[in-house]
């Protein structure tokens, strides 16, 4: 268990990477570049997971997001637009309002986090024992016992998504 107040240099580096690349993702004009930065962000988040004692999750993050989802995105980009030639406006007219709203929103969120995690606020009790050391084993056990129903449901959901994607993307016979 890590002391809540103590965050190492690793965290700062990682969070800088994440936030900078996230801003890049939403603001760059070239959608392909956005995808690259997205991969960077996701990898950073995986690093954050590692610092939070969630090694299995970090691995899954890398495998699924970086390996699969991001690749899928790139494929999608390549299928739908001409990356190299067209450099169109990537943000719309609402950018001004959106910036304003998001600033307010972010300030509100940060304020809330500040007051709720303040020492002695008592909103969240802090954990007293460390996480199970072997978290792959624990996750596996819990998935198969406690969370077996959601697990099955989610598998059905994946199947449905797969079939749905095929049905949607399939070219009409004509």
């Amino acid at each position: 268990m890590t002391d809540p107040s103590e965050v190492g240099i690793v965290f700062w580096v990682l969070s800088t990477v994440i936030l900078v690349s996230a801003v890049m993702v939403v603001s760059l004009r070239n959608i392909f570049h956005c995808a690259i930065f997205l991969i960077l962000t996701l990898t950073g988040v995986a690093g954050i997971f590692v610092t939070l004692n969630a090694e299995f999750l970090a691995a899954a993050q890398v495998l699924i997001y970086v390996g699969a989802v991001a690749t899928l995105m790139v494929f999608g980009i390549m299928l739908t637009s001409d990356i190299a030639s067209r450099r169109i406006e990537m943000t719309n007219q609402k950018a001004g309002v959106a910036v304003l709203a998001c600033m307010v929103f972010a300030l509100g969120v940060l304020f809330l986090i500040k007051i709720t995690t303040k020492a002695g606020a008592g909103v969240w009790q802090t954990a007293t024992e460390p996480l199970p050391a072997d978290n792959v084993l624990t996750i596996g056990k819990q998935l198969m016992t406690e969370f077996v129903l959601p697990f099955e449901v989610v598998s059905v959901l994946l199947l449905a998504a797969m079939i749905g994607a095929i049905v949607l993307a399939r070219r009409e016979a004509s």
């Binding site: 719309n92 007219q93 609402k94 709203a101």
Partner: protein, 696 residues
């Protein structure tokens, strides 16, 4: 067979249902079904009777447990309601009486009602009546007997008013029904008292409760008199006897079946059945006896002067019913005082013999009426030659009712006289009634069947009735003689079969027999002198005792009395109430109506200007607001997302603000929404422009 006794009523119900719903249009089939069912009931009743007799004779006077089937209804947990049948000696005897008369009347009706417009319906009603009557007799508790009691009342009403096109018939039906209701009120009171104190309606349990002292004495008296009130109504006793003579408006077979032999003895049966209750309260028993005597005497005096053949018989019936009731009442009174009396046996025995000869009398009278098409005996005479079978059976029945030795009535009447022997007043009047009975019955006989025909035309048209009608007459004529032989004094017979408490052992009392029969024969002799020999002028006697004659002729002015005492005041009250209605209530109602109208006018104005204004205004507001707000629906998902974010901010702000200012903030929010709507509109117009440019 006894265990299947419940089939006896159910067969009749089946017949009724079949006829009324399916066979009404097929006269032969429906009447045949009804007759078959009643004959089947007769056979079964005889069977049940024989079985019961064997059971009782085999017991040699020891206590015999009656046959009983009970099915409990658990609808009301607090009180034991049950449906069941009880077969003991009394029931078996009643079954025989009802089924015998029932079968005879049904066969007789085949001839009598031939060609009637409602032939099938008549038989359906007869079946329904038999169902109810059998049910009444077989019931094993007071609740059930009450249900069937009302059912026989209903069928009686239907059958009295059978010729409902005739006003007098439908009026008579109503009169019978309403008069019976008055008696039934008492019956219900008695029933409720019994149910309340005994907690059950079952005969045996109630009687156990009575002998166990569950009832306070005064309650028992009221309950007993209440039950007797029912009997008064149904058996046409003294204050409520007025309906029975009028009930003669019904078809004659109905009069024979219902208003002579079976339904009217239901009251007697009820008193006999509930004898434990009357024995438990000597006062109530004395009331019963007194009412019986008064009724009997009064009806006999009225019967002396009536000229309508059916009315004479009707008053005779009332008189004889009074006789039975009196005997039962005396039994209860004597037993309560520790004297062993033949009253119970006498009353029930007379019930049986009376059913035979009175049923016969009515059927024969019906045959006469059928032949001469009049009810008035002054227009008859000498009919014995024309219709010998009818005439002779009528004479036999008359002999029986008059107590001519060795006929059925002789034995039963003797016992009643014997039962009254301990009480001088009752004894005197009993003999007097016996004398009068003989007199008016033979007056009827002599005027109808003997002498010279007074109306030649009617006499010429008269003819003997068909075999379906004379057959039952002969059968009943035989019963009217030998039916009493089961109760010959000094021999084992009826008194060891139907009894209450201890069996009564009859003995030959020659003095009693001599007195009773000589009184009867004296009555016959006087009638012969006056109406056949004309030795004594009837008119002269009528002149001499004119007030008495008028009193008798006008039936003691009972109808007039009731008219003055009850009906007129009620009508006057009704008229007064009507006037009250017309003036006060109507005024009130009209005033209320006027006010309502005025108020409605006001409301209409209010509606037009205020409500409609509000409605239209809100409609206008909504449509205009919608017009403005619809610009928010840009169709762009991202715009919606933005809106969601703004919403979250706004809501979070609300949460942090003091609660009182929410209205202000809502307004601000709405303004912001409108603003956004305008922004969205501008955006869309821009896009539209770009798109059109693109296309161009």
């Amino acid at each position: 067979m006894t265990e299947f006794a419940y089939l006896i009523p159910l067969l009749q119900l089946l017949s009724f249902v079949m006829i009324i719903f399916f066979l009404r249009w097929k006269e032969k089939v429906s009447s045949g079904l009804a007759v078959t069912m009643s004959v089947a009931a007769w056979v079964m009743s005889v069977w049940v009777l024989i079985e019961t007799i064997c059971k009782y004779i085999g017991a040699h006077g020891a206590h015999v447990e009656p046959f009983e089937i009970t099915y409990y209804l658990t609808v009301f947990p607090k009180i034991n309601l049950e449906i069941g049948i009880l077969v003991d000696a009394l029931t078996a005897m009643m079954l025989l009486v009802v089924s015998t008369i029932g079968a005879c009347v049904q066969i007789y009706s085949l001839g009598y009602m031939r060609g009637d417009k409602y032939f099938s319906r008549f038989f359906a009603y007869l079946s329904l009546f038999l169902f109810s009557m059998f049910g009444l007799v077989l019931a094993n508790n007071f609740f059930m007997i009450f249900i069937f009691w009302e059912l026989v009342g209903l069928t009686s009403y239907l059958l009295i008013g059978f010729y409902f096109e005739k006003k007098s018939a439908s009026d008579a039906g109503k009169k019978a029904f309403i008069t019976n209701r008055i008696g039934d009120l008492g019956f219900i009171i008695g029933l409720l008292l019994i149910g309340t104190y005994a907690g059950t309606f079952n005969y045996r349990e109630v009687f156990d409760a009575v002998s166990g002292g569950v009832f306070p004495p005064e309650v028992l008296v009221v309950a007993a008199i209440g039950l007797f009130c029912g009997a008064i109504g149904k058996s046409a006793q003294f204050p409520l006897h007025v309906w029975l003579p009028d009930a003669m408006e019904g078809p004659t077979p109905v009069s024979a079946l219902i208003h002579a032999a079976t339904m009217v003895v239901a009251g007697v049966y009820l008193v006999a059945r509930g004898m434990d209750i009357f024995v438990g309260s000597a006062d109530a028993a004395f009331v019963v006896a007194a009412i019986g005597l008064i009724t009997s005497f009064m009806a006999a005096t009225i019967a002396l002067t009536q000229n309508d053949i059916k009315r004479v018989l009707a008053y005779s019936t009332v008189s004889q019913l009074g006789y039975m009731i009196m005997a039962l009442g005396l039994y209860g009174y004597d037993t309560a005082n520790g004297i062993h009396s033949p009253g119970y046996y006498a009353g029930t025995f007379h019930l049986m013999t009376h059913a035979f000869f009175k049923g016969l009398l009515f059927l024969a009278a019906g045959s006469v009426i059928h032949a001469v098409h009049t009810n008035d005996i002054r227009e008859m005479g000498g009919l014995l030659k024309k219709m010998p079978k009818t005439g002779w059976t009528f004479l036999v029945a008359s002999a029986s009712i008059s107590g001519v030795p060795l006929t059925a009535g002789f034995f039963s009447k003797d016992e009643i006289v014997a039962a009254a022997a301990h009480h001088p007043v009752f004894y005197f009047f009993t003999l007097l009634i016996a004398f009068m009975t003989a007199f008016y019955m033979w007056r009827l006989c002599f005027m109808t069947f003997f002498g010279k025909p007074r109306d030649a035309e009617k006499f010429d048209h008269a003819h003997e009735s068909p075999a379906t009608m004379t057959g039952p007459l002969v059968f009943l004529g035989v019963l009217a003689v030998i039916g009493g032989w089961v109760g010959i004094p000094g021999m084992t017979g009826f008194s060891e079969f139907v009894f209450h408490g201890e069996p009564y052992h009859t003995h030959v009392d020659w003095v009693n027999i001599l007195i009773a029969s000589s009184v009867g024969l004296g009555g016959i002799y006087l009638a012969w002198l006056m109406y056949l020999k004309k030795a004594i002028s009837a008119d002269k006697i009528a002149q001499t005792f004119r007030p008495l004659y008028l009193m008798s002729l006008n039936k003691w002015w009972f109808d007039e009395l009731y008219d003055i005492v009850f009906i007129r005041p009620i009508l006057t009250l009704g008229r007064f109430l009507w006037t009250f209605d017309a003036r006060v209530i109507d005024g009130l109602v009209n005033g209320v109506a006027w006010f309502t109208l005025f108020w409605a006018e006001m409301k209409q104005l209010f509606d037009t200007y205020v409500i409609d204004g509000a409605v239209n205004g809100s409609g206008w507001l909504v449509s205009n607001l919608g017009q403005a707000l619809r610009y928010l629906q840009t169709g762009r998902v991202q715009f919606y997302t933005l809106f969601i974010v703004l919403m979250i901010i706004v809501l979070a702000t609300f949460r942090m603000l003091p609660t009182g200012t929410w209205l202000l903030w809502t307004l601000t929010f709405l303004c912001a929404a409108l603003l956004l709507g305008l922004i969205g509109r501008r955006t869309v117009t821009n896009t539209a422009h770009t798109e059109s440019e693109k296309q161009a």
